[in-house]
């Protein structure tokens, strides 16, 4: 087993185990921290796929931004940190339904991915994708890029407005 395979399986294991942790943990804080590992694992996968820029972005945005935001959310909506969220919770019925469905999806996807005869074409190996991404973003996808910027601005202003405490 080469280094690549080793790395792949390690990352896959990290992703799946931590994702299981996210969905099964009874404490939200644990879920959040598990999510951290999932994100790390996915970032590792990106590295294996020669997507250095995306990997770094994944770390910065997901780990540095989104996750912190989620943890804030968890803490702000709990009266005492660490107390188990009474999710009232995972009722037996929904647990069963969810389990069946996700098992079905998992099996279906696995079967499909294994059996489809994929069109394969290796991407040229380059030192870094940043140059290409930069060029594409500022030429072909410039409009989308600008719109995305506006979208972010609008989203953050909107978020600030919604989260604002009503002053009575």
């Amino acid at each position: 087993m080469g280094l690549f395979e080793l790395a792949f399986y390690s990352f896959a294991a990290i992703i799946l185990i931590s994702a299981l942790g996210v969905v099964l943990s009874r404490k939200m804080m644990y879920s959040a921290f598990s999510l951290l590992f999932t994100f790390f694992g996915v970032a590792g996968m990106y590295v294996l796929l020669n997507a250095d820029f995306i990997a770094v972005t994944q770390l910065m945005v997901y780990v540095g931004g989104i996750l912190v935001l989620i943890i804030f959310g968890v803490m702000l909506t709990q009266k005492i940190t660490g107390v188990d969220i009474k999710d009232g919770s995972v009722g037996k019925l929904s647990f069963a339904v969810g389990g069946i469905m996700s098992a079905f999806i998992a099996v279906f996807f696995t079967m499909m991915y294994m059996n489809v005869d994929w069109f394969l074409k290796d991407a040229p190996i380059t030192d870094s994708t940043i140059t290409q991404i930069g060029k594409s973003l500022l030429t072909e996808y410039l409009l989308a890029f600008e719109v995305a910027a506006v979208l972010l601005l609008v989203a953050f202003i909107g978020a600030a407005l919604i989260a604002r405490r009503e002053s009575n």
Binding site: S94, V97, G98, M101, F104, I105, F108
Partner: protein, 723 residues
Amino acid sequence: MKPETLLLLSMIIILMPLLSFTVIIFSQKRLGQAGGVVGSIFQGLTLLLTIVVSFTKLTTYADAGMIQQTIEWFSIGNKSIQLGLGIDNLAAIMLVVVNLISFLVHLFSTVYMHGDKRYPRFFAYLGLFTFSMLGIVLANNFLNMYIFWELVGISSYLLIGFWYEKDSAADANKKAFITNRVGDFGFLIGILILFVNYGTLMFDQVYAQIAAGNIPYGSGAWLSAAGILIFLGAIGKSAQFPLHVWLPDAMEGPTPVSALIHAATMVAAGVYLTARIFPMLTADAMIFVAYVGGITAFLAATIAITQTDFKKVLAYSTVSQLGYMVLAIGVGAYTSGFMHLVTHAWFKACLFLASGSVIHAMHESMHHAHNHDMDPQDIRNMGGLRKTMPLTYTAFLIATLAISGVPLTSGFMSKDGILAGTLAFAELSGHWLLPLAGFGAAGMTAFYMFRLAINAFHGEAKTDIAKHTKENNWRIVGPLLLLATLSISVFYAWNPFNAGDGWFHDRVKAPRTVVPAEFQFDFMMPLEAEHGEAVMAHGEEAHSEHAEVADAHQGEEAHGGHHAATKFEEQMHHAHYPAMIASLLIAGGGILFGFAFYQFKVFNADNLANLIKPAYKLSYNKWYIDEVYQASVIDGTINLGRVLSWFDLKVVDGVVHAAAWIINKASLAVSFFDKYVVDGMVNLSATATGFFGAMFRKVQTGKVQAYLAFTIIAFMIILFIVF
């Protein structure tokens, strides 16, 4: 200085007053009483620039014709609308007139309007007015002129109605505006006739096309009509009969405004326009113009004799003098007419500012005496002001002499030229009424002006108020004296008996008529046969968009001295001395009668008035023209309105009511149908929708997870079906 520089400076000259307007109007509160200073500084700078530009134009480029620059504004189809700036000798002189008087009025107003609650706004309006007037002066096409023409209309509206709390002022500005509209409408139609036929509104291009024999719709009548219609604009603006009624009422504005607008500049715009269209006036149009001018001059002079309001007398004398100018242009004495415009601007502005000075002094005096009921403008309340206000009196006297046409004054030279022109015209064409009106008006002018001067300034003070008047300060008197000085003849020609030798006649030559010979008096046609090519050359050059020196042929002819270019000019030269002697006699007679009646009381004016009571009444009531308008136009409009309202109430409303009744009945039937059939169907569908809604509502749990689960179940079902 290059022609381009000249144009650039002209551009700045136009824009400066606009800047003044903008600056003052947007900072009225902040400026307060400093608004006058700001306005005066802007106008002073404009004046300095004007002097530079005009001096250069009149010396270096005196023979250069019109220096102009044109840009395309926009185009409709293949016709392009152009904006342009052009400066010729006419415009250069006019620039000085407008800007100098505007500056003096600014200066005068800083005292006269002092303490007014809208003080800065007054100066803003003055700036706007000056801007619009300069636009007219520097326009090189009809459209520009029309735009600024309307701007002058609106700014005069604002200024006349400056004290809009007074009903009379509010009425006066409406009257001025509406009366002007009548004339402007004709102006617009005239412009449109030219535009439809020539596709351009540039003066030089239009004239070049006319000269090339291309006349509107191929008929001389249309060309005459175009000229007369455009002249209608001048009738309105220059207060010619029968649209002169607004000008005396416009005296409701502050007196500096009267001096600026109603004496020197705005009313001059009409004459200026007539001068601009002079080349395209046909014989018929010229006769029309001349008669309008002659009637106006005579009529207004008769009215002015009996008026008692200081400013009303001056207003009617303005109307009369404007009639002179129009008459002059109508008979072809172009140069004298324009010269009279300039000289009249000086002495009439002087007279108005002097009246302002007197009224101001009377006001102050009334203020001190705590008397607020007297009319400070009525000459019957004045008298003896010569002693209390010597400087104002001096200025007023010089201006009075000038307007009466006494030798050594500017008025003598210009009026003499006009009278010579009318005589020559009468000899050549047989229209003897024109010189008659001219001479008659000249005599009356001398008479009523001295009546005014003697009543106001000589003799004993008729009231205590008049006795206690005081001379005003230098900012009022200074402009007066300067304007009075400009009324002396040496500024126009060294020889006071022959204006033809002066620089003025050398710089301002009557342009050659471009009208085809069959529609023009033969004595107006050039004696040499070179006319055709010269104008052609002029037209070709004018197409370039760059600043250029067109019209060069005028310069060559300009050095001809008294080698008259047309038979008319020759005749005018011959008529010069007879006209001078006649006018001297008549003016002298008028002055003599003035003194006899009012100073030495040889005759009693009241007795005479009683003796010819109908004539007196006619004059005192301004020939009942306002009443005629009231009875015909205004009451006519109101009665037409009544008839229409009756028609509306009875006939139209009847039809409407009948229709309403029918519709009402029909709608009852429809409502029945609506209630049972349509509503039934609507209710049925509503019930059905409600039923299904209740059914599907069970599924809509509002739980996101449930929706997701449903989605996935659906996905699974689809998969099972497909595979």
